[in-house]
Symmetry: none
Subunit: 268 residues, 2 copies
DNA sequence: TCGATTCATGCACGTTTATGCACGGTTTCT
DNA sequence: AGAAACCGTGCATAAACGTGCATGAATCGA
């Protein structure tokens, strides 16, 4: 499996596919990417980034513009508005995950579009304490009157859209959540849950280790992929929520590691 | 033999496509755009804006007129889109206030709908550090790539929509903003700036006292009114930004207290 | 096991693009 | 009619660009 090979390279190196995946992620998150920034951040030459962008544009994954690239359907409203449109499959995943939040719990809700969908899927009358480091998620949760909200502060990382730095980690160290809903950029039986960014992984690892149980809702496109930075092993997650179309082999690989896998039913 | 300075300015942080997209957006929103305003707001020369407008007109996206451009179908804006927009008067107030944020500053942006409008009015390529205790504002600012954002954390007060408690106050005590954009629920020459909630007032007072200068943008409906909890006296604010229709008497009362009053001009 | 091959990548080069400025003409307003 | 604002054009320049080539690592075939 290509995951082994990757461990031989330096942690900052990314396989081509991972790099493109990250770029796409960034496009969705920030609404744009700059060639210079990507090059500097990923430690490759601008040429390489431009090549990537060209190929992605040719594949219809983004729109090439002078200086960088834009998402294929650019700016149909603000970021929050765009993110508010949750595809049905992701919504099903979210509905399944929300079931694990029980009345009175203290829950940490991590960054990520899947977790935003989870936030939106929370019942309006649920009474619980939600902690998050993501302003967008906090905003979404503001509409649920039953919730107590706690915001983790600090400098916001633009790539992640959340507070994940030293300041945020200190906040996190004061918490003992009953449940942690972890976002992840990759999920592989051997590599475990992984993230694109070092500090993000660091933060996730910290908050996961402090939580009584950890749940990760994972969209199928992330199955079997590994991002460069390890978060936790599969068996360290209490529950994995997968989409109904998740490959049998993948599910088996997870359960072999001792994970509890739950499948999300499409709404019927 | 020639000026050096002009090269240094060349690096604009907004991609061409984004700029045009923003202009189109503005066309739909305001029903027109002025070259001068766009140039100032986007930090590019009028030449560039005119070029953009010319190209957009050539592409049939707008109609070029003397001084700016008009939407191709002047009547067309969708009603729902229009309803969600910040009223033009508040937008004018916001534009005037944004002018006080200078490149490189550290600015605290308080909670409140006027301050949200200010956040939205910030030029996309402004480079500054913005601190806020309001997730909604943080989310809006996420779309301005030039900004460093710092989020003040802690339990969120639902009434205010921001973190204002003891935790947030401890965060605030570590700050020394160059400028504080204070929201207020009432503004009266004698009562000063006031707030509806005790803790909110407490927090505002704290952050205002720690800032090198304090600016309050005040909609006309708040003039001459006093909410139950005092924040600061009028003379403790460096600048008051009022709407163009603010009563003469009110302005006089403020200036008599030693405040610097600035009036926002409506666009056009 | 070893050579051939593929492929991602970086570098050097010449080209294109976006932009600001100077200049002179044109429109608008009073 | 005259002034002020606005316009387009041409030019200069830095940043971004694409291409062709070289390199080195992984893969394949025998």
């Amino acid at each position: 499996m290509h995951v082994y090979a990757r461990f031989l390279i330096m942690a900052s190196d990314l396989l081509l596919r991972e790099r493109k995946s990250l770029i796409q992620d960034r496009l969705g998150t920030n609404g744009r990417v700059l060639a210079v920034d990507l090059a500097r951040e990923l430690n490759v030459s601008e040429d390489t980034i431009r090549r990537d962008l060209r190929e992605m544009a040719a594949a219809g994954l983004c729109e090439r513009v002078y200086g960088g690239a834009l998402p294929i359907a650019p700016d149909a409203g603000s970021l929050s508005a765009r993110a508010a449109l949750v595809p049905e499959r992701k919504a099903a995943l979210a509905r399944a995950s929300v079931g694990f939040i029980e009345r009175g719990m203290t829950v940490f809700l991590d960054a990520g579009s899947t977790n935003l969908a989870i936030a939106q899927a929370i019942a309006p009358d649920l009474s619980a304490t939600i902690v998050t480091n993501t302003p967008l998620i906090a905003t979404a949760l503001m509409e649920k009157p039953g919730l107590d909200l706690i915001l983790i502060g600090g400098p916001l990382d633009r790539a992640v859209g959340a507070a994940i730095g030293a300041r945020a980690q200190r906040d996190a160290e004061l918490l003992r959540p009953d449940l942690c809903l972890l976002g992840s950029c990759g999920a592989d039986a051997e590599a475990g849950l992984t993230a694109f960014h070092f500090e993000d992984a660091e933060f996730k690892r910290l908050i996961a280790s402090r939580s009584r149980s950890v749940l990760a809702a994972i969209t199928s496109d992330k199955l079997g992929t590994a991002a460069p930075h390890a978060v936790i092993d599969i068996d360290a997650a209490s529950t994995l929520v997968l989409e109904a179309n998740a490959p049998e082999a993948q599910i088996a690989a997870f359960t072999a590691q001792g994970a509890r896998v739950v499948l999300a039913r499409e709404q019927g």
